[in-house]
Symmetry: C2
């Protein structure tokens, strides 16, 4: 078990290292923090912390830097979440309030988060399956009456569209009929429940229209499970250039990982549904992100999360500040979504 002071030393090391980006030595520590002990004592504590695996030396005769395990302890036990300043809160609100539609909300959120944390921001679009149906629209396409456009509109403002090739030409009245019946069943209900709700819908139609109806329904159900169901936006990649000076090797795999939607979705998916999740360095499954930390949190219009957002930055990041910003932004986005 580590003594109180040793934890204090670890905290000081993390703070200094995050600030300076340079290995921190015993002397510097005693100068910059009121630990009340001499450098020699700190050296002993550092040796102990190193034995436990919380800090490490890049090479002999250099100062110490925190390990992933050290950051973990710091986040779990030594640091809180730093609330944003009132001006910052106001700035967030002003910035997000100007959004005109969902794409705009997500876009602004990404930019905001990137600017606030000076890191890479990732924002997931509200999940369809976790939100509610506002309306289902069916449009006969003018040039080809056998093609129908299916448009799903969620209460989060998200709109999804699909082309449907119908087996037989479909009349305007039949389409209107289907549209009406479909909406009366699913409007206001959760997308997740849609499969059950429309299960026997085809049967209630005339024989000649059943083919069309079931094709449309099939496309509708597909849309809810497709991988494109989960969309996201990223921004602030320019902040990666502040990582370190040993560039290409550090930045390359991160950029590559960020381009893989699948990887990012998995990353956010691993985050807890409620509360903030912090994944540090090697805790991230994806290899390219082994030298980064991910701070993620769910957001939603109500109490339940409809999607997640977060940032990706160097393990050497200002955790309290980042966590504060991420949490605050998630709250405001939730509010905006509730209003629309």
């Amino acid at each position: 078990m580590l003594s109180e002071r040793r934890l204090e030393v670890l905290r000081a090391i993390v703070q200094d290292y995050v600030g300076t980006e340079e290995p921190v030595g015993s002397k510097a520590l005693t100068e910059r923090h009121q630990l009340g002990v001499s450098p020699a004592t700190v050296r002993n504590d550092m040796a102990a912390l190193e034995d436990e695996g919380f800090i490490a030396q890049p090479h002999t005769s250099a100062g110490r830097i925190p390990t992933d395990k050290g950051y973990r302890l710091f986040v779990d036990r030594l640091a809180g979440v730093k609330p944003l300043s009132p001006p910052e809160r106001r700035a967030i609100q002003n910035f997000l309030d100007g959004a005109v539609d969902l794409d705009d909300v997500v876009g602004r959120t990404v930019r905001l988060l990137a600017q606030l944390t000076r890191q890479v921001a990732v924002v997931q679009y509200p999940s369809l399956t976790r939100s509610t149906v506002r309306h289902v629209e069916l449009l006969a396409l003018v040039p080809a009456p056998a093609r129908v456009m299916l448009v799903l509109i969620a209460d989060t403002g998200r709109v999804e569209q699909r082309m449907v090739d119908c087996p037989a030409p479909v009349g305007e009245t039949a389409l209107a009929d289907l549209r009406a019946r479909l909406n009366s069943r699913v409007a206001g209900r959760r997308f997740a429940d849609v499969p059950q709700l429309v299960q026997d819908l085809a049967e209630s139609f005339e024989q000649e229209d059943r083919g069309t109806v079931s094709t449309v329904l099939a496309t509708l159900l597909e849309t809810l499970v497709e991988e494109t169901e989960e969309r996201l936006m990223i921004g602030g990649t320019a902040n990666l250039t502040r990582f370190g000076h040993d560039f290409p090797l550090t930045i390359r795999p991160v950029l590559e990982a960020l381009e893989e939607q699948v990887v990012l979705l998995k990353l956010l998916g691993e985050a807890k549904d409620s509360g903030m999740t912090v994944r540090i360095g090697h805790e991230n499954a994806h290899e390219g992100l082994n030298s980064t930390s991910v701070v993620a949190v769910g957001y939603g219009s109500g109490d339940e999360a409809v999607a997640k957002l977060g940032v990706v930055g160097p393990t050497r990041m200002d955790y309290p500040g980042t966590m504060g910003a991420v949490r605050a932004v998630a709250r405001y986005v939730g509010q905006i979504l509730a209003e629309s």
Copy 2:
């Protein structure tokens, strides 16, 4: 005026430099190309080319590298557009054919272009004002009857939505009426003509509904001029890490420029509407892109361009290959769009 052989020397320099990323000297040139003259002669030619500003030396006693002006001459007079190989064409088609909706098309296009050119890809969404109205939908929002959701659907598959706060509660029948009349006027017409087409629409309604109608119409018209009218997607930023070895300084401003939608839109906007546009180095207005070249081209479902796409890469790029890839991708995207 430059002799034929000097142009040949310039071409050889560009090709070698693009291949090796290293300044090319007179000896290496004569070895790798059949110029039929000695290194000394090439040296004289090089001196002439340098006087004219087509090539430069990074420092004394180093080989030459092409200047922006040199690349310009190369692109304009010395190089053609390299067509893609049949397998590449097939790969493009296969890859794009799987798209389920517009977002998917754009997303796939970005990834494809980035992979093909190994550079940063930028794809603009089809412009609303340059496409045709497929349908306008109006939805009364359940919780607040005075709020209406306006959804615009273009023939390119693009969907745009806006919230409208109406001055007075609006009934379902009035809304249906507006929806019907609106669509009969604008469906199948060009978005650009919509302002005229709906000009006197409000007047044909009962007094009590006029406020709502004109509010909805106002929002509709706004949507067509807003800056969000132009959206775009970028990808392949990981390719920036292949730029050079002198990183942070090169890559930083480029990443920053790429994050500014405005900058990118202006960049694409400067490209000619038809035919391919190549902007080299300092020809780009934006400072951060002074060491990059932009290859852009319009694409569209018919003969007319509805938007543009292109790539951003180092001035030292394979112009013929890049131009070939960009052109081919634009054509296929146009086809896909026409089909949907």
